[in-house]
Amino acid sequence: DASRGFLGGHGIVGGHIPLTAGMAFAIKYKGGDGVAVCYFGEAAANNGAFHEALNMAGLWKLPAIFICENNRYGMGTALDRASATYNISERGSAYDMTREIVDGQDLLEVMAAMDRAVVRARKPSAPTLLEIRTYRFMGHSMSDPIHGHYRTKEEVEAHRKRDPIILWSEKLIAEGLIDETGVKAMDAEVMAEVEDAYQFADQSAEPDLAELYSDVYAPTSVNG
């Protein structure tokens, strides 16, 4: 939903990182206090687009936040089989960019890091590279078993113990802000919302065949 600032998911690994730098460029160009944010995995950080975009973001002090969700696996390739170094945030130093490693399993820590990055983007307009360390619980896709080829069952089980949602629920319960039944009710509520979205998509009518040729070009070819 572009009207809410969601500029889409992108199918080319790392391809959206220069786009984000462009959006940050536009914000600075027009003088707004917006911030351009993008997410990518640690595997994308080895792609040329990442380096070229972060160089310009650092060079021009663009109001952008580059979030690397380091979940250790690019499809079936563990980071240590794809990258000379495990520490992705260090790459920010090559582009004179503030960088942090954040524990992705700790909700409050992630929020705090984002707050710092947003403030930094607005005053004095500078980019941030956040390396959020987390772990991929599932397979790369439906056809990829959770473990077997490239990681062990034990490894996955160990990481599952630090599931951010469970950690956060336990914290709230410990502080008496919610109880077990409250957490279960919330779970059910979310599941219902997901189910509702699934049903909506599943039962929506197929698009009219005329849609095939719509939106290839702008309706009015020349503006004004």
């Binding site: 730098a21 462009g22 460029f25 536009a26 160089n55 310009m56 939106d215």
Partner: protein
């Protein structure tokens, strides 16, 4: 009318459009302080400042993507590639992002952007600096491709391209920058998708664009000495292709030679010939022939390079064939 070089005509277009719309900005290597690798952006930094005339690192993919991102959120970038040979690095951002964004987003997000710079060969720049890529980009739904031959067309088409709400691939030419021509003094724009009859004639149609327009015109002069009147149709825009003007001309002359600088296989001419055989088959008195660049990487040696290029002699020979004079 005033006489301008192709370079200065482009400079005027950039200046006028940047004055007209504050969202228009120019970005690329050496466009600012250096005044442009080919001086097309001379004086723009001084008038519009570094926020709107932005020198970049040598990262075509990077700043190509920056342009697309900026266009997605309301700016109108003009991304200059020092030459279209280097733009191959940015082709993912052009084809996978710019060309598809509107379609993928269900019409929510357009990409009003111009990618421009010189294409094709100059003199002894050899294989990696001499390529004509019109057909590569014209193959892609979502892009428009423009290749003006004259100063007047260059100015009018660049102004239109900048105002266009879709990504436009704007291909100039190193060998064209110094050429001169008459340019209207009052403001004007030239529509995309409209070819232009640069010389009328009844005996054969020469379809061309960019640098090969002058090749076709020279061939037409030589042919006129043998009382053969060639009609020179300058496509100006490769996509959208002005099929109407092509078919009208071939309908009149019944013979056609398509001239282009690029390589023969799946070149622009292949598409033009398809249009003619499909829509004007019965009007043809001879097969349509094509004169193209040689199907080789551009050689460095001067004599080999000359042999590799489409030239008036080859066009005259092809015309004699379609007139069965050989």
């Amino acid at each position: 009318m005033t006489t301008l070089t192709y370079r200065d005509a482009l400079n005027q277009a950039l200046r006028e459009e940047m004055r007209r719309d504050p969202n228009v900005f120019l970005m690329g290597e050496e466009v600012g302080v250096y005044q442009g690798a080919y001086k097309v952006s001379r004086g723009l930094l001084e008038e519009f400042g570094p926020t709107r005339v932005v020198d970049t690192p040598i990262t075509e993919l990077g700043f190509g993507g920056v342009g697309v991102g900026a266009a997605m959120v309301g700016l109108r970038p003009i991304i200059e590639f020092m030459t279209w040979n280097f733009a191959l690095l940015a082709i993912d951002q052009i084809i996978n992002a710019a060309a598809k964004m509107r379609y993928m987003s269900g019409g929510q997000v357009g990409v009003p952007i111009v990618f421009r710079g010189p294409g094709g060969s100059a003199l002894q720049l050899a294989a990696q600096h001499s390529q004509a890529f019109e057909s590569l980009y014209a193959h892609i739904p979502g892009l428009k491709v423009v290749a003006p031959a004259t100063p007047a067309d260059a100015k009018g088409l660049l102004k239109t391209a900048i105002r266009d709400n879709d990504p436009v691939i704007f291909i100039e030419g190193e060998m064209l920058y110094n050429t001169k021509g008459e340019v209207p003094e009052e403001e004007y724009t030239t529509p995309l998708g409209l070819a232009d009859i640069k010389r009328s004639g009844d005996h054969v149609t020469l379809i061309c664009h960019s640098k090969t327009v002058s090749v076709a015109l020279k061939a037409a002069e030589q042919l006129a000495e043998e009382q053969i009147q060639a009609e020179v149709v300058d496509l100006r825009s490769i996509r959208p292709l002005d099929e109407g003007t092509i078919l009208q001309s071939v309908g009149k002359t019944h013979r056609c030679v398509v001239v282009e600088e690029g390589w023969p296989f799946a070149g622009v001419g292949a598409q033009v010939v398809d249009t003619i055989q499909r829509e004007a088959f019965d009007a043809l008195d001879a097969p349509v022939l094509r004169v193209t660049g040689a199907d080789v990487p551009m050689p460095y040696n001067k004599h080999l390079e000359k042999a590799a290029k489409a030239d008036p002699g080859k066009v005259v020979a092809a015309v004699r064939k379609v007139l069965y004079l050989e």
